[in-house]
Point group: C2
Chain length 334, copies 2
DNA sequence: ATGAAAGCGCTAACAT
DNA sequence: ATGTTAGCGCTTTCAT
């Protein structure tokens, strides 16, 4: 910028004015400055600007996996809102590792992002207290923060799961298996709670072997499903499944489509919608969340804070929607 | 940092040494400094650090759409490589708009990212010349840059498409429709070229109405497909489709699954693999790319440059793989 | 082992 | 309309 000023024969501040489109520069001077800028290939160094202004016009997003089809639309939605506010998005995947989440978040804080949107992997966010006190706006989405208060956007996982399981019960099922994600994940716990509530409301007992929380690894999902389908000593086989998220659903669909399984129609309702669910046979009935909507809400809450709102932390709950497509309406086959 | 120094009763440089783990600080002093850091909730301001050091330890990624199932694994792969090199990832979606790409890229340059990975939407990247001259390492992926020289990682789109279409021909098809993305996109053009090459090699003429490049909008894909399936005056209906990318394939699968279409089996080979392709009926034969592999290669090329490599720009070509699943092996039905 | 001073490139505040 | 000065928070250089 100094070079530009020298070349244009003006002061530093005048160049700054031109670069930032501020008023108070004659058209002639402006032209000379712009010529110098082009000639020198000058581009403002935002690091210096940030250092001086204190705000970076960037927000951070930390989630489990950027490539997960559930989270990528969420990420895109946050990006769109950020863009509308002139901010860039820095994002990172925690890979469901609390330590990695912490490292990422603190690295983003060191970069002085204006705000953070977090899908937490950790259960304890007290490490964020100094940062939030220092003015980093923070919004949690999809799962609540641990041991601190902050804005939060959640789907109504409990109600959604309860409705999904009630739907199976309404279609005549009495022995329904639940395969879900790791129970330490909030959403997984809520969905399991919804499953139990629906069963209890229908007066149905739940055998221990019908409940298999434990992560999204396709191998383990298929193994647990196979076990429930075949029945164990003292427990009859299930006639339907409720699956805890889209990764589990996809693994489950693969197991149900395996040649040895096809002879028997097993009902399925999955939490989370996914692409092509409508084109499988049977088409998969789901309890749908809208990940883009979650992301948009979270980002808007964030920018509300950045615009100065300093009221109590908000908790936004978004409804889920049962989409009946066929797999959830199959009658019990045993 | 000044506050920390004051509280610990040491000089500024000593705090800097502790924060950066440099040698030359007595254990006792170090302890006092660390106490002060914790007490004050101090976190180094990376903006100042960047300003002084000149490097940001961050890389930018610009692509069409972060939420596209083809690009999100690419993005994740870039993130992983960046992480291995201690760098953060800033990313943005160009939405296939050249002007938006340019804005994003220049914003990233102003932030002084160390390097850029770009899936270009624009056909002219001369705007990057000053930046590259100023030392911003740049790698293009999935599509070549326009009017400049730079590192590049591409799938072999032409060969992949030619093989895919040849596969249909080998299964008896003579009238094959091509539905692709906008032809100004490099990959779309290459795939169309592959289609034409395969047809020509088999001595088959291509009717104008069999070729429909034009974007991924599901409505238009289905309309064009319907037109080709019904035939037009002077042109017989097609018996097979080759689709130009995964968005087109999914739209096409929907059209072929529509009740009115089901009576006739239409063969399909799609460019790009996609989740659940194997579970549709018929399962969809595809020419698969590996988006994560593309991203990984691009990022590694980038960090190679950042590590000082200054040889000629490289052009890395990655092979595609034909995965036969059923839809591409259906015989002609007319 | 430790510290003082200069300066990275910009903008805010205050001249002129 | 334009320029000057100070300083954002850190690292570099050079003393001590």
């Amino acid at each position: 910028m100094k070079d530009v000023a020298a070349r244009a024969g003006v002061g530093l501040k005048t160049v700054s004015r031109v670069v930032n489109g501020e008023a108070g520069v004659s058209t002639d001077t402006e032209r000379r400055v712009n010529e110098a800028i082009t000639a020198l290939g000058f581009r403002r160094n935002d690091s210096a600007r940030v250092l001086r202004k204190g705000s970076t016009s960037s927000v951070g997003l930390v989630l489990e996996d950027l490539a997960d089809p559930f989270y990528s639309p969420l990420s895109r939605a946050v990006e769109e809102v950020a863009r509308a506010h002139g901010a860039l998005l820095i994002n990172g995947s925690s890979a469901e590792d609390p330590e990695r989440e912490r490292e990422l978040v603190l690295a983003l804080c060191a970069r002085r992002v204006d705000g953070l949107v977090i899908v937490p992997a950790s259960g304890d966010h007290r490490y964020l207290e100094p940062e939030m006190a220092a003015g980093v706006a923070t919004v949690f989405v999809d799962r609540p923060p641990g041991r601190i208060e902050a804005d939060l956007v959640l789907s109504d996982n409990f109600t959604g799961a309860r409705e999904g399981v009630a739907h199976l019960i309404a279609h005549g099922h009495r022995r329904i298996g639940f395969i879900g994600d790791q129970p330490r994940i909030h959403t997984a716990g809520e969905r399991l709670r919804g499953y139990r509530a629906a069963m209890a409301e229908a007066g149905l007992a739940v055998a221990d072997s019908w409940v298999a929380p434990g992560g999204t690894d396709p191998q383990r999902v298929r193994a647990d499903a196979a076990r429930m389908l075949d029945g164990t000593e003292g427990t009859e086989p299930v006639t339907a499944f409720f699956s805890g998220n889209n990764r589990v659903t996809v693994a489950l669909v693969r197991e149900l489509a395996a040649p040895v399984r096809r002879e028997r129609a097993v009902a399925l309702v999955g939490f989370d919608d996914f692409e092509l669910a409508d084109l499988l046979s049977p088409a998969v009935t789901v309890v749908a969340q809208d990940p883009a909507d979650l992301g948009r809400n979270a980002a808007e809450l964030l920018f509300r804070r950045l615009d100065g709102a300093d009221d109590e932390p908000r908790r936004v709950s978004r409804p889920t929607r049962l989409i009946a497509r066929g797999s959830g309406e199959l009658p019990p086959s045993l």
